[in-house]
């Protein structure tokens, strides 16, 4: 039932003053997405405790408009907080595909980024970017809540760079590795 803006850039370019209209729509849409990124309540290991502390009173994630949503259908952000084991890899991919576009992924902690202290374990996926495209990596074991919030603000900067011409972040991305959300890399 949401408004579909895929055709809007083409139409806006045809209209004489359209470019201004397009950039201002981009700005408003990105502002809306930036200030209401809703993560999924999804903690795996020790980083989940630091994520809960980031939601709690002292570091208060709610200042940025963040409400943890239990269901993947209503979540925009998949915050992988903890070690991704091989047995948990399939559910994570399934949850990622259940989330509606535009969706983002933060790999919180060194376990989610590259396997961390379990770099030579037989049952750990060495980094979540092997199974899910990741937008922001937050180093640390576990990263401090301030580090998580800094990583989140990096994601907000990336979201501000999204353009409707590039499908507003809803374009199909490579299924692995780090994700190029705003097209600067190209």
């Amino acid at each position: 039932m949401g408004i579909v803006l895929d055709k809007f850039p083409v139409v806006a370019k045809a209209v004489p003053g359209g470019q201004v209209l397009l950039t201002s729509t981009d700005y408003i849409v990105d502002l809306g997405r930036k200030y209401s990124v809703w993560p999924l309540t999804f903690g795996l290991a020790c980083c989940a405790i630091e994520m809960m502390v980031a939601y709690a009173g002292r570091f208060d994630f709610d200042r940025f408009g963040v409400i943890p949503r239990p269901s993947p259908r209503q979540a925009d952000l998949l915050l992988i907080a903890g070690t991704v084991t091989k047995k948990m890899a399939a559910p994570i991919v399934e949850i990622y595909h259940q989330m509606p576009e535009p969706r983002f992924v933060i790999a919180m902690g060194s376990c989610a980024s590259c396997g961390g202290p379990y770099y030579d374990s037989y049952s750990v996926v060495k980094g979540v970017d092997r199974i899910v495209p990741v937008d922001v990596y937050v180093p640390g074991c576990p990263p401090r809540p301030e580090a998580l919030i800094y990583g989140f603000m990096e994601l907000q900067k990336k979201i501000m760079g999204m353009k409707l011409e590039r499908g507003g972040g809803a374009t199909a991305q490579a299924e692995k590795g780090s994700r190029d959300l705003t097209g600067e890399a190209a």
Partner: protein, 189 residues
Amino acid sequence: MKPDPVARLLAALPRAESAASPVKDYPTLRLAAPADILAAARILKDELGFAYLEMVTAVDWLGPVSLAGFVSSANPSPFTKKAPPPPVAPAAGAGIAYRPVLDMLWSFGNLQTGQKVFLRLEVPRDNAEVPSLTSLFAAADWQEREAFDLLGVRFSGHPNLTKILTPDFLKGHPLRKDYAHEKDAYDED
């Protein structure tokens, strides 16, 4: 006076004897045959009040661990361009009797007196078959499944002896010293 559990067990089980190298400062009893464990557990539970099964595990005495069981991430570290070496290269200890055997361990506790008893049993590595204690202690259920999953010890009479920790597609028993890990979908880059 707290009854001395080891003496009582030595009397009851002729083939058992007090362990030569006990678990430090705990009474340890080494059994001779797998069948003895059920009898010993029943005596401990019913007569001596050791109604608390604390631990069921095993040690694989094959030799130093083989590095094939560890699969580090193939992408080398940016500084050395090589996969990181294991922190400690496993080497055979001097004067250690490595033998192809799984040294089983059961630990029973008496909540009232705070006493502990350790039972040891050596079982051949290839078909390690031990009677299950689930009929006497409900706590044995998951610990035996873990021993089966990680070390490959079969517990006869266990209601649901299946994998509990490792992923379904992982073949072999990881905590065995000669475990070699076949690369699966999540290991390549």
